[in-house]
C-alpha cells in the first residue's frame, strides 16, 4: 500500500467500468475538499480574529460601561475625545520610543549574531540553539526578574552602577530610563529568535557569490554589506514587520516591570505606559469604560498599519540601490 501525496484523483484506466455515483462523489471531492481543508483556519480566524475586530468597533461607538446594562450609542465621540486626550498621545510616544530603542539595536545585533553563527564554529548547533533559549522562557518570568534587577534601591543594576562610582538611576520613574530598561527586556528575549531567521536566510545565499567577491578583492565587511545584506532584504522586511507588530503591542514587559498599586499606569507620571496598557486602563480597572478602551484598540490598529507601511518603505529604500528591491541578484558586481 502506498501513501498518495498527490492531491489529484488517481488516474482511472477504464472509466466506463466505474459506477457513476462514485465518480460524482469523486468530482465533488476534488472541487470542494480543498475548501474544507483550509476551513479550520478561516473558522478560527473568524471566531477569534474577524468577529472581535468588528465587535470592538461596534463597542467603540457606544458609551459602554463594562458592568452597565444599557449602552448608549455615541457615534464617533469616543474617537474625538481620544484624539484630544494628552494621556493617549503620551502613551503613543512611549510606545514608539520603546519600539525604536528596542527594535533597531535588536535587529542589528541579530544580523551580527547570525553572521557569526554562519561561520565555521565548533559546536555550531549548540551555539545556534543557545541563542534561542531566552525566547523559550516565560515573558512574565523575564519581566518580573528584570523588574527586580532594575529596582531603585535593591536592584542589581543600580548596585553595579554604584560599584563603578555612578549615581543610581530611577529606572521606574524616569521616562527615558524606563524605556531603556524595558527595551533591554525585549531585546534579551527576541534577538536570538531574529538571529535564527536571519541565519536561515543567510544559508540560502550561494557560496560562489562570496568566492567571486573574494577573488575580486572584497574583504569580509564588504562582502557582508554588499552580498549578505542586500540578499537578506526580504527577510529583513519580514522581521521588521513582525517586530513592529510586536513592539507596538508591547504589554507584558512594561506591565510586569511595574508592581505595587496601579501598575497599569506604567509609573506615577505614566513614564512607560504603552498604548495597550492605556487601553487596558480605560477598558478595565479603574475606569471600566469599554467603549473608550475599544476606541484606543482601533487607533492602535491604525497606528500599527501606518508604522508597518513606513518601515517597509524605509527598508526598501535603504537596501535597494535600484528601485523595486527584488532584483538584488542582478545588482551584484
Amino acid at each position: 500500500m502506498t501513501v498518495q501525496l498527490d492531491a489529484r484523483p488517481p488516474v482511472t484506466p477504464a472509466p466506463h467500468r466505474r459506477r457513476s455515483p462514485s465518480v460524482r462523489l469523486s468530482r465533488l471531492d476534488t472541487r470542494f475538499s480543498p475548501y474544507l481543508y483550509i476551513a479550520p483556519f478561516f473558522l478560527i480566524f473568524g471566531v477569534f480574529g474577524a468577529y472581535p475586530l468588528v465587535y470592538t468597533f461596534w463597542v467603540s461607538l457606544h458609551d459602554w460601561d463594562l458592568l452597565g446594562s444599557d449602552h448608549a450609542f455615541v457615534g464617533a465621540e469616543n474617537y474625538t475625545r481620544l484624539l484630544a486626550d494628552p494621556d493617549f498621545w503620551h502613551a503613543v510616544v512611549n510606545t514608539l520610543g520603546i519600539f525604536v530603542i528596542s527594535t533597531v539595536p535588536q535587529l542589528l545585533a541579530a544580523l551580527w549574531l547570525a553572521n557569526l553563527l554562519n561561520r565555521r564554529l565548533r559546536f555550531r548547533t549548540g551555539w545556534r540553539m543557545a541563542v534561542l533559549i531566552p525566547n523559550v522562557t516565560s515573558t512574565a518570568a523575564v519581566a518580573i526578574v528584570f523588574g527586580v534587577l532594575f529596582s531603585r534601591e535593591f536592584g542589581m543594576v543600580n548596585w553595579l552602577l554604584d560599584v563603578v562610582g555612578l549615581d543610581p538611576v530611577e529606572w521606574k520613574s524616569n521616562r527615558f530610563a524606563s524605556w531603556v530598561a524595558i527595551s533591554a527586556m525585549v531585546d534579551w528575549r527576541w534577538t536570538g529568535y531574529n538571529a535564527l531567521i536571519f541565519l536561515a536566510a543567510m544559508q540560502a545565499i550561494p557560496r560562489d557569490l562570496y568566492e567571486s567577491a573574494a577573488i575580486d578583492g572584497a574583504n569580509r565587511a564588504r562582502q557582508f554589506w554588499s552580498i549578505t545584506v542586500p540578499l537578506l532584504r526580504p527577510t529583513i522586511i519580514f522581521c521588521v514587520i513582525i517586530s513592529t507588530i510586536g513592539g507596538l503591542q508591547l504589554f507584558t514587559e512594561p506591565r510586569l516591570f511595574h508592581s505595587g498599586t496601579n501598575p497599569i499606569r506604567g509609573g506615577p507620571l505614566r513614564e512607560s505606559q504603552t498604548v495597550t496598557m492605556y487601553m487596558f486602563e480605560n477598558a478595565f480597572a479603574p475606569h471600566y469604560n469599554f467603549g473608550y478602551g475599544s476606541a484606543v484598540a482601533w487607533l492602535l490598529f491604525a497606528l500599527i498599519a501606518v508604522v508597518a507601511a513606513v518601515n517597509v518603505a524605509i527598508i526598501r529604500r535603504l537596501g535597494g540601490r535600484t528601485p523595486g528591491g527584488r532584483a538584488a541578484m542582478g545588482e551584484l558586481p
Binding site: S22, L36, V47, S69, G147, S259, A285
Partner: protein
C-alpha cells in the same frame, strides 16, 4: 478501489470535526454534578478563613470549599472580578468586595443575588449599623454584601529601629510621642537625625490615605465625593489638610519612597528599611507576611496620631452567576457571623464588623505574638464601635489612584507640592469624567 477517496473523505471529516470542536469549545457549558458541590470563594489579601472552611466542611460533608486569590493585590483582583461579572462567567460563588469599590458594584446590582430575599434581613443586628447600610443599594431594597471586617487604625513600628534611634520602644510611651500628626513628624525628624539607614515612613501614599480617611471621618464624613456624589477633591478641606500634612512629611525627608504593594515595598519590610507604617487591623497580617518570621517580636503597635479612623474593610457577595446560590449564601452568612469574624481575626487580624464579636472576650483579650504580644483586641476594637464611616463616591477608586499618584510624584521629587496639587485636582476631575 476506493481506498484513497475514503481516506480523503475521512481527512475531510476530521478537519470539519476539528473546526466544530474548536468553535464549540468556547461555548461549552458546565454539567451539573452529583455528589459534593464545590463552592469557590474569591478573595484578595488575607481574610483568614482557612480554619473556618475546615469547620464548615466538617459540618457539611457535601460541600467542598476552594479559596482563590489569597495574598493577592486588590488592584489585580478587582479588574478580574469586574470581567467575570461582565462576562457572566468565571466568578466564584462568593466574592469579596472592598469598601472603596462597593459603590461601583452597587451601581449595577443586577450582578448580585439580593441577600434580603434569602433571609439576610434578620442579620441586621449582627453588624455595625453603617457597615450594614453600606451593603444596601441606594433605594435600600437590595442587600449586595454582608460585612466582613472594618479597618480600624493604629501605627505599627519597629522596636529595633526605634531603639537604634534612641527613641522609646514601649508601646504606651510611643503612643504618647505622637498625639497629633505634627508630633509624628517631629518624632520622625529625631529618628532621621540618627542616621539608622532606615526611613521613618514606608510610603507617603499610605500615610496620606490614612490621614485623609481619619480627617474625613472626623469632619464631613466624605472624602473625594460628597454624599450627593459631587466630586469635591478641590473643595473638601479634609483632602487639602491630608495633602498638606503629607507634604510636610515628604519635605522633612521622612518618606521611604517604597511604592505600596510593590516588590520594593516587600523587600523594604524584609530588610527593615522603614520604621513606621500606618496600620489598619488587616495590615498586621500583611506585615507578618512581608517581614517574615525572622522579624517576629521586632514589631509593635501604637496609637495612630490624630484621632481614630478607618481604612478598608470588605463585604462578601454572591454573584447571580453562581450555580449554588443558596449554598453560597449559607456559607457567606457563616463566614460573616460573629463566630466567623472572630475566627478570621484570630487567624489573620481583620477586625470584626459585628458588635457582638467586638464585645466578645476572644477579641477584647486578644494579643498578637508577632507584634510583641500587643493587645490588638484593645487597640483596634476600642475605637471600632464608635467609628465614623467615610462615604465613598462612584469613581472613588479611579480618583484615589490619581490623587495618590500625584502624592507619589512629589515623594519622588518629580513635582513640587504645588504642581502636585494642580495635577491631583486636574487628573481627578478627568478620571471622574471617564
Amino acid at each position: 478501489m476506493g481506498v484513497i477517496p475514503r481516506r480523503r473523505l475521512a481527512a475531510v471529516a476530521l478537519a470539519a470535526a476539528t473546526a466544530l470542536v474548536v468553535t464549540a469549545g468556547c461555548g461549552g457549558g458546565d454539567s451539573a454534578e452529583d455528589g459534593p458541590i464545590t463552592l469557590t470563594v474569591d478573595v484578595f489579601g488575607q481574610f483568614g478563613y482557612e480554619q473556618l472552611y475546615q469547620e464548615y466542611m466538617a459540618a457539611h460533608p457535601d460541600v467542598k470549599i476552594v479559596e482563590r486569590g489569597t495574598g493577592g493585590n486588590l488592584d489585580e483582583y478587582s479588574p478580574k472580578l469586574t470581567q467575570w461579572l461582565a462576562a457572566g462567567k468565571g466568578a466564584g460563588d462568593i466574592v469579596a468586595i472592598e469598601e472603596g469599590l462597593l459603590v461601583e458594584y452597587k451601581a449595577n446590582p443586577g450582578n448580585f443575588v439580593n441577600l434580603l430575599d434569602h433571609g439576610a434581613a434578620d442579620l441586621k443586628g449582627n453588624f455595625l449599623d453603617w457597615k450594614w447600610n453600606a451593603g444596601l443599594t441606594a433605594d435600600g431594597k437590595q442587600l449586595i454584601g454582608l460585612g466582613t471586617d472594618v479597618g480600624g487604625m493604629a501605627m505599627c513600628y519597629r522596636k529595633d529601629l526605634f531603639a537604634k534611634a534612641g527613641l522609646p520602644t514601649e508601646r504606651d510611651a510611643v503612643s504618647k510621642l505622637w498625639p497629633t500628626w505634627p508630633d509624628y513628624i517631629r518624632v520622625g525628624e529625631q529618628f532621621a537625625a540618627k542616621q539608622t539607614g532606615a526611613s521613618f515612613v514606608d510610603a507617603a501614599t499610605n500615610t496620606f490615605n490614612t490621614i485623609l480617611l481619619q480627617t474625613a471621618g472626623n469632619t464631613q464624613g466624605y472624602s473625594y465625593y460628597d454624599t450627593s456624589d459631587n466630586l469635591v477633591v478641590d473643595s473638601n478641606p479634609a483632602v487639602r489638610q491630608a495633602w498638606d500634612t503629607t507634604m510636610d512629611i515628604v519635605d522633612s525627608g521622612l518618606a521611604g519612597k517604597y511604592l505600596a504593594w510593590s516588590e520594593e515595598w516587600v523587600s523594604a519590610f524584609k530588610q527593615a528599611k522603614f520604621a513606621t507604617i500606618a496600620c489598619p487591623a488587616w495590615m498586621t497580617g500583611v506585615i507578618e507576611g512581608n517581614a517574615g518570621p525572622s522579624a517576629k517580636g521586632k514589631w509593635d503597635i501604637a496609637r495612630v496620631p490624630g484621632n481614630g479612623g478607618n481604612w478598608g474593610g470588605s463585604y462578601l457577595a454572591v454573584p447571580k452567576q453562581s450555580k449554588h446560590q443558596a449554598r453560597a449564601i449559607e456559607l457567606a452568612k457563616f463566614l460573616t457571623s460573629a463566630k466567623g469574624q472572630i475566627g478570621a481575626f484570630k487567624a489573620k487580624g481583620p477586625l470584626p464588623s459585628s458588635p457582638q464579636a467586638l464585645d466578645d472576650p476572644a477579641i477584647a483579650d486578644a494579643t498578637n505574638a508577632y507584634f510583641s504580644d500587643a493587645p490588638v483586641g484593645q487597640i483596634f476594637a476600642a475605637g471600632a464601635k464608635n467609628l465614623k464611616p467615610v462615604y465613598m463616591g462612584p469613581k472613588n477608586q479611579a480618583v484615589r489612584t490619581e490623587v495618590e499618584n500625584a502624592v507619589r510624584t512629589v515623594e519622588l521629587g518629580q513635582r513640587s507640592p504645588a504642581q502636585g496639587w494642580t495635577d491631583a485636582v486636574a487628573n481627578a476631575k478627568k478620571a471622574a469624567a471617564k
